[in-house]
Symmetry: none
Subunit: 196 residues, 4 copies
DNA sequence: TCTTAATCGAGACGGTACGTCGCGTCTTGCA
DNA sequence: TGCAAGACGCGACGTACCGTCTCGATTAAGA
């Protein structure tokens, strides 16, 4: 009765424990020692893993960080998909501000955004794996709210999104905190909500 | 690349020609090969200068870039100090957007902002030499305009400045262009000018 | 090189085809690419065999080479056991000279003699499986000829054997050819034959 | 009065202490741990030197060993050049036998002869830097003795030299000792001296 | 006939060494 | 004193093999 016993594993397969150890080691090193200490050798040492095991599965340390970022962001910072209200947007942005300033995974986002300035390949991958997909969901949300008459941004959806995300990210990049009311004022200014 | 023909030796005072050669080499390398190729050895090679000459005058390559950034920004992107009007703010932001997306010196700003995420020392120096002074001037401008009744931002001056600068920088960081009208809409939304 | 079409699996008993494939692959690699390319991974690749299959049956690549050497030497270079004459010794040495300079299997002998200088374990196994047994047969031959009054070496049998083999091997090791008459002169000088 | 003060050193020059440390480390490692432990990393570690310092001056570990061999052989095993007598040849060969069996530098010779079997480049360099020059001097010696009527080898000088050196080297290669009288008998057999 | 056990190809794993590059420090000789 | 030149100790890079291991498939022998 059990439909097609999955049997995905065959012969010699990937060691999931090693994968987790690498991702955690990368996260830990970034949080504790900073990006400068985030070398493949240090990750391998910290994870108790051979260097070759890392190179076998990840082409660069950027891809390791992208793995952790994508997983963490999906878990801790989902884009609301059901109710496209001004309130849900506000809540999402508040969570985003918290994520980017107080969460260890948020530091990964900033580090990758930074690395993308230094290396075009990183920029490309960053768009493919994080910025692109997330922005698509965010636009869905924004457009939904516009259609519902909840908000009436002066800017187009994409530009409006940057007008909201940009200030938050910029303050995080410059080490400034996000003051109480900052997000609310941004929403008020940029989205010009009709309700709540 | 360009194997600069040998400059005359200097004797016992600082060699200004060497200083210029280093700054230009750093700029050129960043523009042509990217931050990854911006090593002290490469700068020395490109500038036709001994490594020691660089270490004698700059503690790190970040400081070299800060030298070029401060000079270029002061020259090409001065903060208006005389007339604190909504229009002058708008003009300043338009120039800033152009600087950060189309000017080679703007790439230096982005690169330093990025490097500051990787290295706390860079973050500190960045504030001391660029972000801090510039922000002080920008606040002067904003406060002047508020006092003059030109604008009435919902946010405080510092937060408002980030709400204007942030979106521009964020779009530059993510490789997006600044669409026509973007800056104007930001000014309209965030500063709520009383006049055109 | 020749991507050997897949052999049929063997089941429960040792796969003789795999054994042959390994021995031939080792021989081929040594002849074509040199000892430097003679890695277990390369042998496995070339033979179309799993690495574990090699490690299951041979403790080291030296033992693989010893297998081929012992087989080849026994087939192509048997020590004459019936007639212990000066002439048969001369013939044996001529064949040995040819083996060691022009035969692919002779390269294996030189390679093993070389490897024995680098690794004591190889030296031990080399004596046990090749040098010892062969020398015993050679001494039989020499002693027989002495007893028959065919030859009257100034040196004892073992030393005399080295005085004959040594020059041949040394010229092979240093890449020198064996000139016509070289072996005959050696026999004349060292063994001082009474006949032939 | 001192004619042209040599002044060979200019600017930044080679560190002789590092050179010596590397040569000694290589020698020591070969003697104590064997060729298998003779890695560039181990030499650098043992010598307290950076790996790059080795690569800067030597293209391979073979060249390091050649440096030590050439120096040691010239010092400890000079080919007699003044008196080309049967006796001086005999003495030279006795010293050579001792060198190759009991001297640490002799192990270097064997190791290089071995490595030359594994790597053609080593073979070439070995001829250029050791085998060739030495053989030229040996031939000088032999020819002198022949012309003086001291010896009358059946073989030509080069072949005769191999008939003398070969057995000694071969016994060293196979771990056999050189028995008392071995060298004398070889000289007697191969060179057929006319005088004591 | 049906386990059972050994062998096979495949290849991931923790390691070590490779040869290269850039770091920041240093020393030398010239100007 | 500043400078070009460049050697030095250091440590990370990304690659190749090492020898061990585990997997599922294959096949002969014994229950």
């Amino acid at each position: 009765m059990s439909p097609t016993p999955p049997r995905p594993r065959s012969g010699n397969r990937r060691d999931e424990a090693a994968r987790d150890a690498v991702l955690h080691a990368a996260d830990d090193l970034l949080a504790e020692k900073g990006f400068g200490a985030l070398t493949i050798e240090a990750i391998a040492r910290e994870a108790g893993v051979a260097k070759q095991t890392i190179y076998r599965w990840w082409p660069s340390k950027v891809e390791i960080l992208l793995d952790t970022l994508v997983e963490d962001a999906e878990r801790q910072l989902p884009v609301p998909t059901d109710k496209a209200t001004a309130a849900s947007i506000r809540t999402y942005l508040r969570k985003f501000a918290r994520f980017v300033t107080h969460d260890a995974a948020g530091k990964v986002l900033l580090a990758l955004l930074a690395e993308a300035q230094h290396d075009p390949e990183t920029a490309t991958r960053m768009h493919q794996r994080y910025l692109g997909p997330r922005r698509r969901q965010e636009l869905e949300l924004l457009k939904g709210a516009i259609d519902a008459g909840e908000i009436a941004p002066r800017l187009g959806p994409d530009a409006a999104m940057d007008a909201l995300i940009g200030p938050i990210v910029y303050r995080a990049l410059t080490g400034a905190s996000i003051p109480r009311g900052f997000v609310d004022a941004l929403v008020e200014d940029v989205l010009r909500p009709r309700t709540g």
